[in-house]
């Protein structure tokens, strides 16, 4: 009888622990998947928002050409000061606009690309733009690493922002 009592108690406590632990385990698996996805997307040479913000805010040194290859409504709401709007580089029009903008530049021109539409691993615009510039022979190109989106990873951090239109030349 005593053994039955202990066995039932153990079963009860095991069930309780399982119910509590299952959601925790599922969450942990989700995060590990996200980490795996992010670690795979390492093709472009990147620059972190903090580092670019320092360059933008500094009064010294040459500034890179900053090109936004995301969507226009995002650019109009908030963009990095002096950044030029190119358009979504996932489409032919965006790539054409990009080629037009950099056609006359030396291949050593420092360029920073950014989009900010979506999490880094799911952004459809940065990789095509980066590849296009590399294929054209530009050697000093970096992509701004936006982990989540431009709002969260730039604006919310208090980094400098401009509003309105300032289209490319």
């Amino acid at each position: 009888m005593t053994n039955t009592f202990y066995r039932n108690s153990i079963i009860t406590m095991t069930a309780l622990c399982t119910l509590v632990c299952l959601p925790v385990r599922a969450t942990a698996q989700l995060f590990s998947q996200v980490a795996t996805i992010e670690s795979d997307s390492s093709t472009p040479q990147t620059i972190q928002p903090e580092e670019l913000a320092k360059i933008v805010q500094s009064s010294k040194g040459d500034k890179p050409l900053i090109l936004q290859v995301g969507f226009h409504v995002l650019y109009q709401q908030a963009h990095i000061p002096r950044a030029e709007y190119i358009g979504p580089a996932s489409g032919a029009e965006g790539l054409q606009q990009l080629r037009k903008r950099i056609a006359a530049l030396p291949h050593s021109q420092p360029i920073v690309l950014y989009c900010g539409c979506c999490p880094w691993s799911k952004c459809p615009n940065v990789n095509p733009a980066y590849k296009e510039l590399r294929d054209m022979g530009f050697t000093n190109v970096k992509a701004l690493y936006i982990a989540d989106n431009f709002g969260k990873d730039w604006v919310d951090k208090g980094y400098p922002v401009s509003k309105g239109d300032r289209t490319s030349n």
Binding site: L74, Q77, P124, N125
Partner: protein, 197 residues
């Protein structure tokens, strides 16, 4: 040899004495209490982890009203948020080239079909630069709810759309019940709209 402390000996005597009805009764009660505790913990965990349960507390005055807008949808009809007062609205900011947005669209089409009779109205606001791909996408995915092209002014009035997708769940009285920036598990959105019907 293990040292037996006097109180352990006393407890052992009580527990091990055969035929002791009092002990059996205590054991049964302890077991029942443990079962009740386990059940209680499980139910409490479910209650506090489910947004739908939270939603049943209702939309309150602390939820701000969704900004009104008047746009023209892809078919040329006027699209005004105020005309959907009395319905539960999902307002989805998206773009055709945005892969997380594209993944959500078929689910929104399903939700619109499933809950149309209960008063769900989904509204798509595309932030594409050009309406042409939006029209093609609209037909290709057989979108069954109105879609209009948005602008920066509308985006700012909704607190800034500084990433995609972003969707808002709006109650029947026009208040923003939830904002989901980024890709979201639409099962969560479904539970929220169920709670608002």
């Amino acid at each position: 040899m293990t040292k037996v402390i006097p109180y352990q000996r006393a407890i052992g005597r009580v527990i091990n004495s055969p035929g002791n009805q009092l002990v059996e009764s205590v054991k049964t009660k302890v077991f029942a209490v443990l079962c009740l505790l386990a059940l209680g913990a499980y139910l409490a965990a479910r209650h506090w982890s489910r947004p739908a349960e939270r939603a049943r507390r209702g939309v309150t005055a602390t939820h701000s009203f969704a900004p009104e807008f008047s746009l023209t949808d892809l078919s040329g009809k006027k699209l005004e948020l105020s005309s959907y007062r009395g319905k539960v609205v999902i307002l989805d900011f998206w773009a055709t080239w945005c892969s997380p947005c594209r993944a959500e669209i078929p689910r929104f089409v399903d939700l619109q079909n499933k809950y149309r009779g209960q008063g769900l109205q989904i509204i798509g606001i595309s932030l594409d630069d050009d309406p042409k791909p939006v029209r093609a996408f609209y037909q290709q995915f057989r979108i069954n709810y109105p879609v209009a092209i948005g602008d920066a002014n509308l985006a700012e009035r909704y607190g800034g759309i500084l990433g995609l997708p972003v969707n808002f769940v709006i109650s029947r009285d026009g208040r923003i019940y939830a904002k989901h920036p980024g890709e979201v598990d639409l099962r969560l959105v479904e539970r929220e709209i169920q709670s608002l019907f």
